[in-house]
Structures are given as structure tokens and as C-alpha cells.
């Protein structure tokens, strides 16, 4: 059976929890649990056939990453996804700056699919990827 996937518009940004945890320490489990996640609309979660807390794979032209799906406290339209700033979202950000110095952190075309069997990268694993030549 072909696996379900969904096209979304991805916005990365500050969340209060991420803002607090970046000050508290980025190596903590709390940071991983609250930043390696992606907020979606309930209808989109249903369409993917997953529940909140289950893993999803998000892909853009720049890369892909596995994070936990969640429902945020702030409403999201169908077809939109939100990820807090941090090293997981950075796999998906478009590095092109269009002559401004600013990569495109918001309004990125992305595809989301269920990834129940795949794991979320830990900070140590991300460092290993970044340091690999």
C-alpha cells in the first residue's frame, strides 16, 4: 500500500516553551521533547492516520527530518505546519537568502508522511551529522 503523505506550508518560529528551554539548556530531554516536534491541524493528523505524539517525517527541497507530531495551543489552518526554531527545523530551512542574508525560515513547501518506525535524532546524533566530513 502506498504510504499516506500530505503537502503542507511549513512555518518555523519561536514558541514560549522553546524560548524558555533554549535559556535552560539545549542538551536536556525537555528541549528534545518540546523542540523536535511539528504542530499540525487535527484534520491533517487524521488524514495521515496518526495520533499526536507519533513520529512524522517532514521533507523539503533542502532536506528531511523525523520529529514528533503535536497539536499546538495556537490554532493552525489545514495545510499548515509549525516547528519551533532549533536544530531539527534547520534540516528543512531553505538556505537561499535572496540577496538579504536571511534564509527562508517561513512559508516553506514541505511534505509530511507518517514515520512511526523511524526515530527522532538526538542532539548527539545531530552533532555527529554536522561534524561528519
Amino acid at each position: 500500500m502506498k504510504s499516506k503523505s500530505l503537502k503542507v506550508n511549513l512555518v518555523t518560529g519561536r514558541s514560549l516553551v522553546q524560548g524558555r528551554l533554549k535559556e535552560q539548556g539545549k542538551l536536556s530531554e525537555d528541549y528534545l521533547n518540546n523542540v523536535a516536534c511539528c504542530e499540525l491541524n487535527q484534520d491533517d493528523l487524521n488524514a495521515l492516520g496518526i495520533a499526536k505524539g507519533q513520529n512524522v517525517k517532514i521533507s523539503t527541497d533542502s532536506g528531511s527530518v523525523v520529529v514528533k507530531a503535536s497539536i499546538g495551543t495556537q490554532a493552525l489552518e489545514k495545510g499548515m505546519a509549525f516547528m519551533p526554531y532549533g536544530p531539527w527545523a534547520e534540516f528543512l530551512v531553505d538556505p537561499k537568502t535572496h540577496s538579504t542574508g536571511m534564509p527562508t525560515y517561513k512559508g516553506i513547501n514541505a511534505t509530511i508522511s507518517p514515520a512511526m518506525k523511524e526515530k527522532v535524532l538526538t542532539i548527539e546524533e545531530i552533532i555527529e551529522i554536522i561534524r561528519s566530513k
Binding site: 535552560q24 495556537q74 489552518e77 536544530p87 542574508g101 536571511m102 527562508t104 512559508g107 552533532i127
Partner: protein, 433 residues
């Protein structure tokens, strides 16, 4: 048990730089922080966690303990040997440290860039194109009857902004919430939108279109479309009316507009709208700056070199061309051969490929905390927290300078960014002679 209370402490988290914290110190630790928001409490109650405890230099795969002079020596040699180094970060340290950073960049022929590149850089480019009509936050507090948050979510990113300076503040001429009309423009119903009087939902990446439509309406031009950026014409006309008829209006813009497609052009249009509105009423605009001294990083770099960020000093004179001389672009072209990062974590916050390229080159990091950037570094030098363990000047988001104070001693052997950078500069000058 010994305890001491410090009044009017300046918070060193976001660009609000709230100056009303009351800190209680018991047995050398912060036991209470009155008036602090959730982000501020996150920092104040945990500033000692995940600290870099001593200087370190890389030995193969591991970072090993070194003396401060060994670490500075190694850092100075890396920088003196490099042909095109980047000096990046600066938004979480004092103006005095940034000033030394500019001198160091000039001395080694490097690129002086700050985190503006990944926050309000497009806003600054827009301001250079069009000009800015602005004010201090005090004026907003006392006078503003129309407050528009555009692509900004202060409830999450600047938690005390509404309480101290805008919607919920008690001003001289606007004493209650009823005296102000608060409008949020965003791609989704944020927590800020929920407590606003009205919410305008815009399609992602369509800020330029909506701002142009409002500007045209303010100029009394008729629009042919029924909807612009997903917003019905009626709503656009209503918003233009509210803007024209206010006594003192302000747009606070956030990264929702600078990070979306259009980037600096979005800000050009927002500034043009404000210019147009000033023909009819009093209207202002201000970026919601993220880090506590990112404004200072722009100010100091601008008065030292003429440009606020992305300044290339490799040719012996300052060259400013964002998109070319900005950190992410240089890294994506894989052109630099060393980097000094001060008070910032670009490995966490740069697009993954740019972070990989940064981790490939000799990297020196000066930071109080263990971060992804320190863990990828060749040399790590721990520093004292500005505004907690050491003093320094900082600029609030509206350009008001404040003196951040010290109220606790740094851990043994940990010194300020200023002291580290002065030593590093002296050492580099000696090698270069």
C-alpha cells in the same frame, strides 16, 4: 542564611530589556525573580546549568581542558593564520565586547556579522531603502491608540511587551485597555491574536501583496480584486480606515514578515505604508528585536564601520553587501577558513548545510553555555553572563541604551567577554607584528 535583594535589574533575554526585575540572592544563588516573564525565569533560574566550566581545546575527537592563556593562544593563532575568517554572533553580549570584535575583525581582515542576518536583517535593508518613522517604547505606552502586531507573536517571543509598553500598559494619555485598538496580522490565530481586538488572517508569503493593497486603499485608490492575500476587500478597507483615523498608530513587525518570501521588500512596503499614513495622521513602525542586544550589535557595528551587519573588512575597508558578505551566504559558498563565534549558537540556528560548513573549519566559541556550537568547536572559552555576572551597555529594541548590571559573582576563573576579547586582540596583534 544571607540574602540580598537587588532592585531595577535589567533582564537580558529579549529585546524588551525589561528594567524592573527584583532579584533575591540567597547563599550565592538567585532564589526569587519578581516581574520576570517565563523566558526570563528560564534564564535566571538556570543560568548555571550546562555551563562551560573551563577553557577547552580540541584534541582529536575530544575537547580537553586547557588554561585560559593556552586557549587564547590557540584561538589567536587560528585567527592570525586565516585568510577569510567570520566573526559572528554578538547579540547576547555587551556593546563594549562588540566594539572589541569590530577592532579584531579589522585587525585580521575578517567579516563582522551578527545574528541580525537571521532575524531583522531584511528590516534593516528596508529601512536603508525607505527610511523609518519611529519612536521610543515610552511614547507607545503613553500615546498609542492603535497597535498592530504584524507577523509578531509577543505573547510567546516578548512576553512582557504588551504589559509594559503596548496594549496592556497604563499610559499617561491611554490609561486602560479600552483606550487602545489592538490588531494582529498573522498566518494563524496566535495567542497574541486571541487577546487582540481583531485578527486578520493572511496567506503565507503574501505580506507584500496585503501591505500594497492597504497602501493603495489609504491613497484612496480602488482595488479591482475581491480578496488580496486571502483577506476580503471589505476587511482591507476597514483596516485602512482604522489606520487613517487613529491619533497615534504603530506597527510592531516580527519575523513573520522578515523571514517570509519577499523579505526586505516586505519591509519596504510596510515602511512605505507608514510614510503614506503620516500624510494623514501620526504613524510609526518598529521591529520586535529578539535578543537583548541585537540592536546594540547593529548600532556599534554601524558607528564603527558605517554598516550595521555583514561587514567585510578583508579588503582593508568596510564592504557591505548582504547576500554576499553575510555569514550564511559565505558559509553556503564555503569560502571562509576560520570562525569566531561570540555569544551565539549558529550550529543550532543556521540552515543545516551552512552549519555543516561552519563545523568543517577551525571554530572558536566564546559562550557561557554548552551549545551545539561549542561542541563542534576547536577552541571553547567560557564567559560570564552579561547582566548577571558582569556589567555592560545594551540597546533596547527602540534604541534606548541601558546599563546592564552585575549582581552575582561569576564562577571561579570565568571572565567577561570584554576581558577575553581584549586578551585575544592583544595576542593577535603580537603575532601579526
Amino acid at each position: 542564611m544571607s540574602s540580598k535583594i537587588f532592585q531595577d535589574i535589567i533582564c537580558t533575554v529579549c529585546g524588551c530589556c525589561c528594567d524592573n526585575l527584583e532579584i533575591e540572592i540567597k547563599d550565592g544563588n538567585i532564589s526569587r525573580a519578581k516581574n520576570a516573564c517565563a523566558m526570563s525565569l528560564g534564564k535566571l533560574m538556570n543560568f548555571n546549568k550546562e555551563r562551560n566550566e573551563f577553557p577547552m581545546v580540541r584534541n582529536g575527537d575530544k575537547l580537553s581542558k586547557a588554561s585560559l592563556s593556552e586557549a587564547i593562544d590557540k584561538a589567536a593563532n587560528i585567527l592570525a593564520d586565516s585568510k577569510y575568517p567570520i566573526l559572528y554572533g554578538w547579540s547576547l553580549t555587551s556593546c563594549e565586547a562588540i566594539e572589541l570584535g569590530v577592532e579584531l575583525a579589522d585587525c585580521i581582515g575578517g567579516v563582522m556579522d551578527n545574528t541580525t542576518g537571521t532575524c531583522h536583517g531584511p528590516g534593516i535593508i528596508g529601512i536603508q531603502d525607505v527610511g523609518e518613522s519611529t519612536c521610543t517604547l515610552g511614547e507607545v505606552k503613553h500615546r498609542a491608540d492603535l497597535i498592530i502586531y504584524w507577523g509578531a507573536n509577543p505573547v510567546h517571543a516578548h512576553p512582557n511587551h504588551m504589559m509594559r509598553y503596548s496594549a496592556l500598559s497604563k499610559g499617561r494619555f491611554r490609561a486602560t485597555r479600552k483606550d487602545r485598538n489592538v490588531i494582529t496580522v498573522d498566518v494563524r490565530m496566535t495567542d497574541t491574536a486571541k487577546i487582540s481586538d481583531s485578527f486578520i488572517q493572511i496567506e503565507p508569503n503574501k505580506d507584500y501583496e496585503l501591505l500594497s493593497a492597504i497602501t493603495a486603499t489609504v491613497k484612496d485608490l480602488e482595488l479591482e480584486q475581491d480578496k488580496v492575500a486571502g483577506v476580503p476587500l471589505e476587511e482591507i478597507e476597514n483596516l485602512a480606515d482604522i489606520m487613517v483615523n487613529c491619533e497615534f498608530g504603530i506597527i510592531f513587525f516580527g519575523l513573520g514578515i522578515t523571514m517570509s518570501l519577499g523579505k526586505s521588500r516586505n519591509i519596504d512596503m510596510a515602511l512605505s505604508l507608514v510614510r503614506e499614513l503620516n500624510k494623514r495622521t501620526k504613524f510609526l513602525i518598529m521591529p520586535m528585536r529578539g535578543h537583548f542586544n541585537v540592536t546594540g550589535a547593529n548600532q556599534v557595528t554601524a558607528w564603527q564601520t558605517g554598516y550595521p551587519f555583514a561587514v567585510d573588512l578583508s579588503k582593508g575597508f568596510p564592504l557591505y553587501n548582504p547576500g554576499d558578505t553575510s555569514a550564511v551566504d559565505i558559509l553556503m559558498r564555503d569560502e571562509c577558513d576560520a570562525a569566531l563565534v561570540v555569544a551565539s549558537d549558529p550550529i543550532s540556528n543556521f540552515p543545516n548545510q551552512a552549519a555543516r560548513n561552519l563545523a568543517k573549519i577551525p571554530l572558536i566559541t566564546i559562550d557561557p553555555h554548552v551549545t551545539l556550537t561549542t561542541l563542534c568547536s576547536e577552541v571553547v572559552i567560557p564567559s560570564a553572563h552579561v547582566g548577571i555576572e558582569t556589567e555592560g551597555s545594551i540597546y533596547r529594541m527602540d534604541g534606548v541604551v541601558l546599563e546592564a548590571r552585575k549582581f552575582i559573582e561569576p564562577p571561579n576563573g570565568i571572565v567577561s567577554d570584554v576581558e577575553i576579547l581584549q586578551n585575544l586582540l592583544n595576542r593577535v596583534k603580537k603575532i601579526s607584528k
